[in-house]
């Protein structure tokens, strides 16, 4: 067949539809960036809802926000930033093709991500015990009935936004597991590092979302004190 001369043997680094490995890597990277843009728009809807209601009810949002534990939130932010660092180191190790280092840094990233989720679960549990879950049993000390309702809006947004973020973290953890399994098999030992690179981008993106969530949810009353 004449078509055989044009097509080539398929490998991970060079799929059938591409001409060169560079073209494939380029396309995959562009695809990931576009995906991240869709994620920005996705979270954007919630940020919009947050902006609208914080503008309508600034005092209640500040009061409700003060019930969140800033120190735990800040510590968790540090944990997440560290996980970004280990992720970068994993990406670098993949560029150098050092399988053992890739695996080690990915596992570290996974552990730090797990710690973040664990702390988040602890915080959510605290909210349950304090009756700060929107619904029939919602109660916030020292607020008028009207404010109680508006405070529920804050906590609805808090749970929706941190919940969606946590879901992205869990998906990220799954992707890390996938990378670890493949890295141990030496898939990324020979210059093919695109998946590590792209999942790294995703991981950083999820971190950045938190960098916005932390001040918006935890810190909005700080300058009022």
């Amino acid at each position: 067949m004449a078509s055989e001369s044009h097509a080539h043997e398929e490998t991970l680094a060079l799929r059938e539809q591409f001409e060169t490995e560079a073209q494939q890597k380029d396309a995959s990277t562009l695809g990931m960036w576009i995906f991240l843009i869709t994620e920005v728009m996705f979270f954007g809807g919630m940020f919009l809802a947050y902006t609208v209601y914080r503008r309508i009810y600034p005092e209640v949002f500040a009061l409700a926000s003060s019930s969140l534990n800033v120190y735990i939130g800040a510590a968790n932010t540090v944990v997440l930033l560290c996980s970004s660092l280990t992720m970068v180191l994993a990406v670098r190790a993949a560029q150098l093709g050092k399988t053992k280092a890739i695996v080690a840094f990915l596992i570290l990233t996974l552990i730090l991500g797990g710690v973040f989720l664990g702390v988040k679960a602890y915080e959510w549990n605290e909210k349950f015990e304090e009756h700060h879950i929107p619904g029939a049993s919602f109660h916030f000390e020292g607020m008028s009935p009207d404010q109680q309702a508006h405070a529920q809006l804050f906590f609805s947004l808090y749970f929706a936004m941190t919940g969606l973020h946590a879901l992205h973290m869990i998906i990220g953890a799954g992707l890390l597991l996938y990378l670890i399994v493949h890295a141990r098999r030496g898939v990324y030992a020979n210059g093919y590092d695109t998946p590590v690179d792209l999942i790294g981008l995703y991981w950083h993106f999820v971190d950045i979302i938190w960098i916005f969530l932390f001040p918006l949810l935890y810190l909005i009353d700080r300058h009022m004190r």
Binding site: S3, H6, L30, G31, G44, G45, A49, D146, H150
Partner: protein, 541 residues
């Protein structure tokens, strides 16, 4: 008759056989056909709902279905047609099949993601189908709160979940197209040499990627509101139902351009080929697509003129909505100018394209009516609006979709359709369409509200006309369905380039081989340079 030579040649359809070879295929051409099959099913499903709506509206009293059932009928008509037919129609079938071929690529950049996006559409479709069979949904396709969150007792969640999943199908298709256009063009295929169908599909992909995620998060919030009553859209907790409308239309107005932009691309191809002239003002037509994509995101507020939006916001949105008319008019004028002194042939695709231009112009001009703040307050939620958007979506998109199917059918299947029947179908659809929807402009102007199944006696004549038109339209839609299937077996064998077109897709045999091109094509000419195809075998003249 199948000739021996044709039997021997390997192409994408006979490379391998069996259900598995289709359900696990990574070939963009086969996936395009999977989409064709799927959206056709939803088209006829949505059509069945429309039929029942038109039967009910024959008489002024509600004597065919109850008002509850009627609510469900128009809702499910909208859901099936918009989310599972119109949005995937041209991009996912014709775009999937021809975008890689038109830029000289072997496939899309991400074939497996392409297959995944088809599965997502199917799963989303099944959710919605389940909701329809289990009892239906009655909120209108817009799912306005608080009706959808608090009061409706129908299958809101299952339907919305289906739309949510299908949305990811749309996002992934858009992502795939953008990367493919950026990174997979053949040597010499510069941006300004791309066929205009590629430009319009690219512009569409940008909207799919930027708009659809907002719909997704809106559906999540709707879900949370309905299930957990979190208050985001609930005034009792200080929330605002209008926020839902803002978020919804931020996607759903651009979604109108997801539906019509690819249609415009198809028309650019057809008008050029069948007048044998390059598209007049190529650059303007290309940039008009991009302009529509950008402007489309700035006009959503014209759906909220009577929804407590401030007058000043209304003025701005009204003003911005007028801007969309500029790129749209550029396209219409340039298609018309392309015809000037062209060698025009009235082949079937061209008849559909003429139908498109006429109907889209009426739809577009009445769009200016409803973009005008004062007039829109008068006709909001009347049949005037219904007629307006059906002129765009049915008269525009479906005309172009059918035109495109006829135009590329020989390439997709290797068979010619019966020309006489096809021309007749174009005529029947054009007449049936106008008879169905033109009376609705008058009905709406006189005050017939949408979404009601009883109406004053004096509207009956116009409603009967509309239903009569719908019957003609239904016949028109069934005709291609029948002769396309007929042609698969009995149609004449198609040559490689039956229309004498210039696109790279016509440089391959019909049907194309598995990897599209036996050798990497090298592009040396602008698009629509007909000096490059002189002397090739042409089917119609």
């Amino acid at each position: 008759m199948i000739t021996a030579a044709a039997q021997e040649r390997e192409h994408y359809l006979n490379q391998n056989y069996g259900l598995k070879s289709w359900l696990l295929t990574k070939d963009h051409k086969r996936i395009g056909l999977l989409y064709l099959f799927t959206v056709t099913l939803f088209f006829f499903l949505g059509g069945a709902f429309a039929t029942m709506i038109r039967i009910e509206l024959l008489t002024p009293t509600g004597n065919f279905v109850s008002s509850e059932t009627y609510n469900k009928l128009f809702t499910m008509h909208g859901v099936a047609m918009i989310f599972f037919f119109l949005i995937p129609s041209i991009p996912a079938t014709l775009g999937n099949f021809f975008l890689p071929m038109m830029i000289g690529a072997r496939d899309l950049a991400f074939p497996r993601i392409n297959l995944l996006s088809w599965y997502l559409l199917v799963v989303g479709g099944l959710f919605s189908l389940f909701a329809m069979l289990a009892g239906g949904v009655d909120t209108g396709w817009t799912f306005y709160t608080p009706y959808s969150t608090t009061y409706s007792n129908s299958w809101v969640i299952a339907t919305a979940l289906g739309i949510f999943i299908a949305g990811f199908s749309s996002i992934l298709t858009g992502l795939n197209f953008i990367v493919t256009v950026h990174r997979m063009r053949a040597p010499g295929m510069t941006w300004m040499r791309m066929p205009l169908f590629v430009w319009s599909t690219y512009a569409t992909a940008l909207i799919q990627v930027l708009g659809t995620p907002v719909l997704a998060v809106t559906i999540i919030l709707l879900f949370c509101e309905r299930v957990f009553h979190i208050g985001i859209f609930d005034p009792a907790l200080g929330g605002d139902p209008v926020l839902f409308q803002h978020l919804f239309w931020f996607y759903s107005h651009p979604a109108v351009y997801i539906m019509v932009l690819p249609a415009m691309g198809v028309i650019s191809e057809i008008v050029s080929v069948f007048s044998r002239k390059p598209v007049f003002g190529y650059h303007f037509v290309a940039f008009a697509s991009m302009a529509i994509a950008v402007l489309g995101f700035l006009v959503w507020g014209h759906h909220l003129f009577v929804a407590t939006q401030s007058v000043y916001a209304g003025l701005v949105f009204s003003f911005l909505s007028y801007f969309v008319a500029i790129p749209s008019a550029i396209k219409v004028f340039n298609w018309t100018a392309t015809l000037y002194k062209g060698s025009i042939s009235f082949a079937t695709p061209m008849l559909y394209a003429f139908g498109f231009i006429g109907l889209f112009t009426i739809g577009g001009l009445t769009g200016l009516f409803v973009a005008a703040l004062g007039f829109d307050v008068h006709v909001t939620d009347t049949y005037f609006v219904v007629a307006h958007f059906h002129y765009i979506m049915v008269g525009g998109t479906i005309m172009a979709y059918l035109g495109g199917l006829h135009y590329w059918w020989p390439k997709m299947t290797g068979r010619m359709y019966p020309e006489g029947w096809a021309r007749l179908s174009a005529l029947v659809i054009f007449l049936g369409f106008n008879l169905t929807f033109f009376p609705q402009f008058i009905l709406g102007y006189l005050g017939m509200p949408r979404r009601y199944h009883v109406y004053p006696d004096e509207f009956q004549v116009l409603h009967v006309l509309s239903t009569a038109g719908a019957s003609v339209l239904a016949v028109g839609y069934l005709m291609p369905m029948i002769y396309f299937i007929w042609s698969l077996r009995y149609g004449a064998m198609a040559p490689a380039n039956p229309w004498g077109a210039t696109g790279l897709e016509w440089k391959t045999p019909s049907p194309p081989s598995l990897h599209n091109f036996d050798e990497m094509p090298i592009v040396t000419h602008e698009a629509y340079d007909y000096s490059t195809v002189i002397g090739e075998e042409i089917q119609v003249g």
